[in-house]
Symmetry: C2
Subunit: 112 residues, 2 copies
């Protein structure tokens, strides 16, 4: 325990809003975050993503994903770790995440 404090503004599953989720992943940078996170075997710290933007801009994108319910974040030491909310998304929007990931893999994201 005490692995790290939770961030409080993640929506519960019952409050998931589909347009908001769509808007969150529609941004190329954020789609890159989601695909890199989905491909990683473990949780990923913010700084480990390969993104073509300034760290402060990346924070903004992580916040958008988190507040839409796409990712979960927690502190681990000085790093902030990111987890894809696969089960929550699958339960609420069946098939959506998988379809997005396979579609994104097909087209060049160009935001790496």
């Amino acid at each position: 325990m005490a692995r790290g404090r939770e961030i409080a503004d993640e929506p519960e599953v019952k409050d998931f809003d589909f347009p908001r989720v769509l808007n969150a992943i529609a941004d190329p940078i954020r789609l890159a975050i989601v695909t890199q996170l989905a491909a990683a075997p473990n949780d990923v710290s913010c700084g480990s993503f390969i993104l073509p933007v300034h760290p402060s801009t990346a924070t903004h994108h992580f916040t958008a994903l988190r507040q839409a319910g796409v990712i979960h974040q927690y502190y681990a030491g000085t790093s902030r770790m990111n987890v894809l909310r696969r089960d929550d998304l699958n339960a609420t929007f069946p098939g959506f995440l998988d379809a997005v990931l396979s579609a994104a893999a097909k087209t060049q994201t160009s935001a790496t």
Copy 2:
């Protein structure tokens, strides 16, 4: 024939760009257009959609959907008809359209 002229800026299937498709349907008005179109038994004229925006704004949204490859448009008399490019989308992004439609049906679009 001469059922109506085609509009020339619709992308071919091979040129489909997933981030662009995502961005197209991420707008609440455009998502409403897609869901209403998917639910309709026949092709739908622009004026038949129930949308909370000015007609000239609707035109802008139809253009975004068309240029992303989500819809096909053709003239029929004084009306412009809209068709969802189901087969093209399914072929390129398998499962994506169905997942979006069922997810959109679950959450209130609020843009009707």
